[in-house]
């Protein structure tokens, strides 16, 4: 495995290196909020999941959710990071209507998780190691709607107080692809661990992307933060646009201003945001309503012992144990449910064929239907049966694809479909010979052409397959044709 090289961007004045760091906000998959007992379900009636604590009523106080602490530690372990046995909650003070307390309870000097790292598979044999600076717990803010009324903004505090894990990377990414890959990897890890559902459409995972450019070997440039990017595609687009914007700006003689920007999906551009707190002085101080969090060794070890096999380990095992190509292993390891499915199909069968079918036809069908593998219309057992039917030559690979389509539609077992539709492969050499003879007899001119162009043989194969309604065993057809045509 080799570490990726920086992909440089060509500007008018020469090549530029892109430096990217990401702050990812991942909502903890807990039932209640970080400091209050209100529910966290997505899509509820406005202000129906708000306690007096979340609404910052006078005299209200926070109490820490144990499950959120556990999930943060679990995620930290999944990032190969240091767990800080003592951490402190701090207030980040600023005014905004979706922040009822006038401060966000977050962590500043002493976060619950320290340094770690994540390895990204970029291309076959190439990786990028991205350092993790820290992970801390903090409250999410509520939601403001600005388009309900010409003069008013509407505020819904359902999300106010929901637990977020803020995962801060080191500025180790060098391209839009790496930025996307990083977020995808984070998503995979938290879903594996069950600490976050990684649903970017619902906002349970979002990224703030920090982008700067510099001449290779030169000093770091000024960075801009693109806030709240909520899809992988937008991450790529936003970074591409921002890099271009900054390079153009500098090459035209301007200076990049440090600022917060928003990505506008419609135009594909980033634009400057009117700052939430002009002075950006959050006046962090330890929250006097909370006591320092102390974690015992056995608390941490119990969590460590309960971790599932993580994606990187799984990928390595798939390569070693099942003999898969690293790329396929990587694709499967990207999702725990897919691994489980795959291993069921692969058990006692040719793993490579199984991998091909899962990552190829099955994933293709799932994408088209827009369902997760957990809701696959084709069960792992049935797919396994299909693989068996191919392996023992009952049907050809070509026919298998047709059968698979029917399996997707009906959910029936492949054996049943093959029987009902009479799709069994014809391997009876006598029958094939008869077909071959017929095709040869009916096409004397083509036989003549064949003498000049040997590649025409494939046309004959095609004709025989057609005549057999695709059921002839292609290998047998080739063999018999070759004999009969003297190839």
């Amino acid at each position: 495995m080799a570490e990726a090289e920086s992909k440089l961007v060509e500007g008018a004045t020469g090549p530029w290196e892109v430096i990217i760091g990401i702050e990812c906000h991942a909502q903890v998959a807990s039932k209640s909020k970080l400091f209050s007992g209100a529910a966290t379900e997505f899509g509820a009636e406005p202000n129906s999941q708000v306690s007096f604590v979340d609404a910052a009523m006078p005299g209200m106080l926070p109490v820490l959710n144990a499950y959120c602490v556990e999930m943060a530690v679990r995620t930290g372990l999944g990032l190969n990071a240091k767990i800080n046995k003592r951490s402190v909650f701090a207030r980040k003070n600023y005014f905004y209507p979706d922040l009822p307390q006038g401060y966000q309870i977050s962590q500043f000097d002493l976060p619950i998780v320290g340094e770690g790292e994540v390895v990204l598979d970029m291309a076959e044999g190439i990786t990028r190691t991205v350092g993790i600076e820290r992970l801390h717990l903090e409250q999410d803010a509520g939601k403001s709607l600005h388009d309900q009324d010409p003069g008013l903004s509407f505020v819904d505090l359902n999300r106010s107080g929901v637990a977020l894990m803020e995962i801060v990377s080191k500025p180790d990414m060098r391209s839009a692809e790496e930025a996307q890959a990083f977020l995808k990897k984070l998503r995979t890890i938290v879903r594996y661990l069950g600490t976050c559902d990684g649903n970017m459409e619902e906002g349970s995972m979002r990224g703030d992307i920090n982008v700067s450019v510099r001449k290779p070997g030169g000093p770091l440039g000024t960075r801009c933060e693109i806030k709240n990017v909520n899809s992988f595609r937008f991450v790529g687009q936003a970074v591409e646009y921002e890099v271009g914007r900054q390079i153009d700006l500098i090459e035209d003689g301007g200076e990049v201003k440090q600022e917060t920007r928003l990505f506008d999906a419609r135009s594909g551009e980033t634009r400057s945001m009117r700052s939430k707190e002009e002075a950006h002085d959050y006046r962090y101080f330890p929250d006097p309503d909370l006591l320092p969090l102390e974690l015992a060794d056995d608390f941490i070890e119990t969590i460590r012992a309960s971790l599932p096999e993580l994606p990187d380990a799984k990928k390595a095992r798939f390569v070693e144990q099942w003999g898969l190509k690293p790329y396929d292993a990587g694709v499967l390891a990207g999702d725990k449910a897919s691994c489980y499915y795959f291993e069921k199909v692969a058990e006692g069968r040719d793993a490579r064929i199984a991998a091909n079918w899962v990552t190829g036809e099955l994933f293709g069908a799932l994408n088209k239907l827009n369902v997760e593998i957990t809701e696959s219309p084709v069960s792992a057992d049935h797919l396994g049966e299909l693989v068996d039917l191919i392996s023992d030559n009952t049907i050809s690979g070509r026919i298998a694809k047709d059968v698979f389509e029917i399996m997707v539609e009906t959910g029936d077992a492949p054996g049943k479909i093959v029987e009902e539709k009479g799709l069994k492969q014809v391997t009876d050499t006598g029958a094939i010979e008869a077909l071959v003879d017929e095709v040869i007899a009916q096409n004397p001119d083509k036989v003549e052409e064949l003498k000049e162009k040997p590649k025409m043989a494939s046309w004959f194969v095609g004709q025989v397959m057609k005549a057999s309604q695709g059921k002839a065993n292609p290998a047998a057809v080739n063999e018999i044709l070759a004999k009969k045509l003297g190839l």
Binding site: F52, P58, G59, L61, N93
Partner: protein, 492 residues
């Protein structure tokens, strides 16, 4: 009927228990007294209907044999405690109209013990003040006045309304909160007992926050016994308050009569400040003598960093307050003053809603937390706080209680110090250190000034050792024999 208001909590408990009077009669007696006491301005909200209703329910409970420790006791509640369905103001314009849909844990405990709500007492705005002159609802007048002098005196603050109400027999007892002395100092200035328990002893849930690491609820009563009874009902662990301590509440009343024989009383030399009025010094000495007469030993102790306590407090408390008061923004409750955009709405609302002292403290607090100043001010103050707490810890190796004056002077005239914030802050010089260290402290009326105004002495104890503090206070109270009551000039 007015006889009934002369009963303290222990006395009323007796009378109610024997059936000499009903809770309803007792409550009505207090409501009449309050009605006649408008000039004191001790109450922001009086609740005759609710009080009588609660009293009737209490009488019914008693009939059923379900009497609690404070059954039928009519109390004044400082308007910093959120009371469900009852307007709660923190004496601020910015909470106009705010009616909480929840009950603070401390007051919930009192109602569960059978007590009756007479009304919400006046206070300094958001508990910031030492004279009850910063209230949006006007200053409270001390029931005590100088002989032959009509001028109104301050009752102390911030729990000035509660202090005045107790001193003028407008309630059997009252709740206060103490952040830097706001229970103890007004108690001293009005000749009553006021106790701040150990930080974490009473829940802060539902108590409007001023400075989270310092605020504590406590009883304000006529006697030490009454304070023990009330504290027993108010205190207790609350899972909704992360800073609330999970240790059982002892029977404070049972601890009272232990006497001080064998206890060592510490006298901190640094509390003898320059320019201390002689009458305060004399009272302090008298307190020492009285306790020694009772069998206590005396020892001089050194609390080295005492002189830095006040400035430390005036960094830490405003810093926390500036953050705690950020939620008062006109969005979800209280006053809203319109603005062209959200920022001007915030600025206009807070400018109109907060009084001058509150604004000063928010600005100081914002400043000491801001980038470039945090280390020099806030962080430094928090380190000194550790040292101050250590000073006490060291002293308590050798002594069981520490005796000091409560306030540096008796009640002063309304308006006498309002031009000079700093001179007002100096009122807290003896009370602030125990607040910073989170230790329990009580003020006991122990004598009168040269001009006949009440003076108090403070006893400070170890963390969670309220029993010894109350024991010492009980002995001091009996020995000092202060029985003064102000003339009820407000009735004329």
């Amino acid at each position: 009927m007015s006889d009934l208001t002369q009963l303290d909590i222990a006395g009323a408990r007796d009378a109610l228990g024997k059936g000499d009077c009903s809770a309803e009669e007792l409550t009505n007696a207090y409501l009449d007294a309050i009605h006649e006491a408008d000039p004191l301005n001790a109450f922001i909200t009086v609740l005759p209907g609710k009080a009588v209703e609660m009293a009737k329910e209490s009488d019914a409970r008693r009939k059923n044999g379900e009497a609690g420790p404070l059954e039928g006791m009519p109390l004044g509640i400082k308007d910093l405690f959120c009371t469900e369905g009852v307007k709660t103001t923190a004496a601020s314009h910015i909470l106009d109209g705010f009616t909480p849909a929840y009950e603070s844990t401390v007051t919930r405990n009192l109602w569960d013990a059978g007590a009756v709500l007479l009304g919400k007492t006046n206070m300094d705005e958001f508990a910031m003040g030492s004279s009850n002159e910063t209230s949006y609802y006007g200053p409270v007048r001390n029931p005590w006045r100088l002989e032959g002098d009509d001028n109104a005196l301050v009752p102390g603050g911030s729990s000035g309304g509660s202090a005045a109400a107790v001193a003028a027999n407008l309630c059997a007892g009252a709740t206060g909160t103490d952040t830097g002395g706001s229970i103890r100092q007004p108690a001293a200035l009005t000749g009553i007992v006021g106790m701040k328990p150990t930080y974490g002893r009473c829940s802060r849930w539902g108590t409007i926050a001023f400075a989270s690491s310092l605020d504590q609820a406590g009883p304000m009563t006529r006697t030490v016994r009454d304070a023990a009874i009330m504290l027993g009902a108010m205190a207790g662990h609350d899972a909704k308050d992360s800073t609330s301590i999970n240790t059982p509440v002892p029977d404070y009343e049972a601890a009272l009569e232990g006497g001080v024989k064998g206890l060592t009383i510490g006298v901190p030399e640094e509390y003898r400040v320059d320019g201390m009025p002689k009458e305060i010094e004399d009272l302090w000495q008298r307190g020492v003598d009285l306790l020694v007469e009772q069998g206590a030993k005396v020892k001089t102790v050194s609390l080295k960093r005492t002189k830095y306590a006040l400035p430390t407090y005036y960094i830490v408390a405003p810093a926390e307050a500036s953050s705690n008061l950020a939620r008062y923004d006109g969005v979800r409750y209280g006053l809203r003053v319109p603005g062209d955009d959200i920022t001007s709405m915030y600025e206009n609302t807070r400018a109109a809603g907060f009084g001058a002292e509150v604004k000063r403290r928010i600005l100081i607090g914002t400043y000491v937390l801001s980038a470039g100043y945090y280390d020099a001010y806030y962080l430094k103050a928090q380190k000194i706080r550790t040292l101050i707490a250590q000073d006490f810890k060291d002293a308590f190796e050798d002594v069981d209680l520490i005796l000091t004056p409560t306030a540096p002077e008796p009640a002063f005239g309304i308006g006498a110090k309002t031009d000079d914030p700093l001179s007002m802050y100096l009122n807290d010089v003896f009370t602030v250190p125990a607040s910073l260290a989170g230790l329990p402290g009580i003020s006991v009326p122990a004598g009168v000034s040269d001009k006949g105004l009440p003076l108090g002495l403070q006893l400070i104890g170890r963390a969670f050792d309220e029993e010894t503090v109350l024991r010492g206070a009980y002995a001091l109270e009996r020995a000092a024999g202060f029985t003064g009551k102000p003339d009820a000039w407000w009735r004329s």
